[in-house]
């Protein structure tokens, strides 16, 4: 006798939140051109939408002064501003991105010339998590969310606490953070983010094949990841930044009460106001200074 087929909510419906590095200082110094990067990413986003009618893509632009949602495939406003030559997703995204960059420029504050400021990764992550939380609360039938960080600029140690908080909240709501890092050195933040949340960290060695990397590694939905072997990062840089000067440190002081990290000895924890003991403090701080100098 024919029976009604049993149905389960299929796991391969994805909500992909992409944070896009739009740090102009980085791109103008980087060998790979932004327009090429963008066209590969756009093709990737379009193919994600193509894979399933219910798939959803959200793009967050990450500048060095601000962050903003530049595209949401579920939003109704997407129908406007099509000129017929390219799909709505492209023209919408590009339009919003252009506006965002203009706004970001206005917010520019003076920074030391000759250096590349870091992008606001912490802000982008927080926005992504907020969006995902909204999806969670919309009902039991939400798609499987994941975050993909497409970044190239160097880590900003001053964002350490905020980024770690974002990572832990992502871990808590079991949202994996994938990172595709295109910069020359590995990003410790993104490595940790992916490691802690169970996402994939990968640094593509050949950037002109970026689409291939994206479609092979990062297009994999969470359901399929159970069955596939994906790149694992081996050496994760677990170094922390201190809370007081935002420097990446190898060794430091940890508050025994709240686990705040400091690079030098303090009388009182700035986070939980615990008073630290005085014994051997001089010796220890001298030690640490020596280490830093070497």
């Amino acid at each position: 006798m024919a029976s009604v087929p049993s149905k389960h909510y299929t796991d391969d419906i994805s909500l992909l939140v992409v944070t896009l590095d739009t740090n102009p200082f980085f791109w103008s110094t980087f060998s790979f051109h932004f327009s090429e990067f963008l066209s590969q990413v756009l093709a990737f986003l379009n193919s994600i939408l193509l894979l399933g009618q219910l798939n959803q893509v959200v793009v967050i632009a990450t500048g060095c002064n601000s962050c903003s949602y530049v595209y949401d495939s579920s939003s109704d406003r997407n129908h406007a501003s099509t000129n017929g030559t390219m799909p709505a997703i492209y023209s919408n995204l590009l339009h919003n991105l252009d506006e965002f960059v203009a706004k970001d420029q206005q917010l520019t504050t003076a920074h030391k010339p000759g250096t590349v400021p870091s992008s606001l990764l912490s802000g982008a992550l927080s926005m992504a998590l907020c969006y995902i939380q909204r999806a969670f609360r919309a009902g039991p039938m939400h798609p499987q969310p994941r975050i993909l960080c497409l970044h190239g600029s160097t880590d900003g140690p001053e964002q350490y606490v905020a980024i770690m908080n974002a990572i832990f909240s992502a871990q808590r709501s079991s949202v994996p953070v994938d990172s595709c890092y295109i910069g020359s050195n590995n990003s410790a933040f993104l490595q940790q983010a992916s490691y802690i949340t169970g996402g994939i960290y990968y640094r593509p060695p050949q950037l002109d094949g970026l689409f291939q990397y994206l479609s092979t590694v990062f297009a994999t939905d969470l359901h399929s990841r159970e069955y596939l072997r994906l790149p694992k990062s081996l050496g994760v840089d677990f170094r922390a930044s201190c809370f007081c000067h935002k420097q990446t440190i190898d060794m430091g002081y940890v508050c025994s009460v709240c686990l705040s990290i400091f690079c030098e000895h303090h009388d009182k924890c700035s986070t939980c106001s615990s008073v630290f003991g005085q014994t051997q403090s001089d010796v220890a701080s001298a030690d640490s200074r020596k280490r830093k100098a070497s």
Binding site: P24, M86, Y195, L234, T271
Partner: protein
């Protein structure tokens, strides 16, 4: 105890009696018929001529002694209360077996009175608790045959009458007048003439009190509705399975209740059906016709209201055990009790709700693996964070190895926007990527994947091998592990060979030898391979 007594006796009278042993000697024994009477100072031993004589005397003595015990022992033992005493006597009267036992043990002096009752303590306690638990209820006979003063029944049934009695009786009218008025009102009700009732009520305002709907009852009904447990009990039992209960049974049950009150059974029945629907989970099916005659409804009282009220009171039980006192005191005591019980019910309800309110589904998950960061003084904390961030933003970067960027912000933003508009006009790069690049990337990735196969989910950051490019490292680890395993097996085989008994050794070595040879060959090959490999310069693939 009794044995000890005998010992004492024996010691005392050792000289006179050699071996008394029992209080009287048994028939057929070779001892002469002796009877030993115990006295407080000592004992007397009588020797009888024959056993029948002994028996007669023994009985007489037994009766005399039992009387003696009841009067003297009880008083001397402990100060018993009168209630305790009557209870014991009552128990003995009720239970013939117990009485017999009592006679045998206490009367014969084997046990003292207190000893006997100590073993029967349970019986005493049980009796007492039973008396406490059971509340004497009202009889299910209707109020219609009650006398006004007999007990608190009318008051319990009709709070309005109760209230009126408290208000009126000594001050406004005598007790007799009060009851006269009450029964007059009852009579008017029984005629079911609502118009007459209205007229009477208009004439006599005191009478109106009885004729009108009981306001207190209404209030209470409202209170009860409010008191309904808001939590839903989802645990169903047999009682909930009403779907399989034919309606007819419920109907008949109800009719039975009605026929109990003979006076109303005839005309009570049709209204009963209306009530049944109400019982059915409060859903009205056929509505009720009681909404008619709107202007006189005030003075209308249906049998059903009476019946419902009565059954409620009967179920509640009598809250008063003394029924001989004056109606006035009865009324007052009832009023006091009611207040108390209301308080108790309210409290119970609150407890129940608070207990029920902790439904699992509604509770937040409390198995957070992370403790929240507790910040003592948030303002201080954030201020310091802010200050630190601003202060260190400039100098922290300076010390680090960063990409140099000598362009102004206008220039960099300009170039970024240019590339965006570039895509806008030209569209995506076409072709996006060449097939060669794609294939190269895919096979590169695949190589990477298959090399990490063995090291899945492990992160060996401490190892020196981390410095090496991952692919090489993986191979090294792989091969090394394999080599270790092989050499282990090798040594094990050697062990086996040695441990075998001398006569079997030959056979064992025959079996083991080829294996050993194969293993050794493998190890040799590995060493050679490693030498070759180390000669090559490792090609970095950029993957850490």
């Amino acid at each position: 105890m009794s044995a000890a007594q005998q010992v004492v006796k024996r010691a005392k009278y050792k000289t006179t009696v050699k071996d008394p042993g029992h209080k009287h000697t048994k028939e057929g024994s070779n001892k002469p018929p002796w009877l030993n009477l115990v006295h407080s100072q000592g004992s007397y031993i009588f020797e009888f001529e024959s056993f029948p004589d002994l028996h007669v005397c023994r009985e007489l003595v037994g009766i005399a002694l039992s009387k003696h015990v009841e009067t003297t022992k009880v008083v001397s033992d402990e100060q018993l209360s009168a209630a305790e005493m009557t209870l014991r006597i009552k128990l003995l009267q009720e239970n013939s077996k117990l009485q017999k036992l009592h006679k045998e043990l206490v009367a014969s002096g084997k046990l003292t009175e207190s000893e006997f009752w100590a073993t029967k303590k349970k019986l005493l306690d049980q009796d007492e608790s039973r008396k406490l638990k059971q509340r004497i209820g009202f009889k299910n006979s209707l109020i219609f045959d009650t006398k006004p003063t007999s007990d608190g029944r009318i008051f319990a049934l009709k709070p309005a009458v109760h209230q009126a009695f408290l208000n009126f009786v000594p001050s406004k009218m005598s007790e007799v007048d009060f009851w006269n008025k009450y029964f007059k009102a009852e009579y008017i009700h029984s005629t079911k003439n609502t118009i007459a009732a209205a007229a009477e009520a208009a004439e006599d305002e005191d009478l109106a009190v009885f004729l009108k709907d009981d306001e207190i009852l209404e209030n209470e009904a409202r209170k009860k509705v409010r008191r309904v447990d808001p939590t839903l009990d989802m645990e169903a039992d047999q009682g909930d399975d009403y779907t399989h209960l034919p309606v007819g049974i419920r109907l008949r049950k109800f009719c039975f209740t009605i026929s109990n009150c003979s006076r109303y059974s005839a005309n009570g029945y049709p209204e009963g059906i209306g009530e049944i629907t109400e019982l059915d989970h409060g859903i009205f099916r056929d509505g009720s016709k009681e909404t008619s005659e709107a202007q006189n409804t005030l003075y209308r009282r249906t049998l059903l209201q009476d019946l419902n009220r009565q059954s409620e009171v009967v179920l509640e039980g009598k809250t008063l055990d003394i029924d001989t006192e004056h109606p006035r005191t009865v009324a007052e005591v009832l009023a006091r009790r009611k207040q108390e019980s209301d308080g108790v019910i309210e409290e119970e309800r609150r407890n129940r709700i608070s207990k029920m309110a902790q439904i699992e589904d509604l509770q937040a998950q409390d198995d957070h693996p992370f403790a929240p960061l507790s910040i003592k003084d948030p303002r201080d904390y954030f201020d310091s964070q802010q200050a630190n961030a601003v202060k260190t933003l400039d100098d922290s970067l300076a010390g680090k190895e960063t990409l140099r960027c000598n362009l102004s912000s206008e220039q960099v933003y300009g170039s970024l926007r240019k590339s965006i508009s570039n895509i806008k006009t030209k569209g995506l790069k076409d072709p996006l990527l060449s097939p060669e690049v794609a294939l190269k990337v895919l096979s590169g990735l695949t190589k990477n994947i298959s090399s990490t196969k063995s090291n899945l989910g492990k992160s060996s950051q401490e190892s020196v091998l981390d410095i090496l490019p991952s692919t090489i490292k993986e191979k090294l680890l792989d091969a090394r592990r394999l080599k270790d395993a092989i050499s282990q097996i090798d040594s094990k085989l050697e062990e086996i060979k040695v441990s075998a008994k001398s006569d079997l050794r030959h056979q064992v070595s025959l079996v083991v030898h080829p294996m050993q040879q194969a293993l050794e060959a493998a190890l040799l090959h590995y060493d050679a391979d490693e030498k070759k490999r180390s000669a090559k310069v490792p090609k970095p693939n950029g993957y850490v």
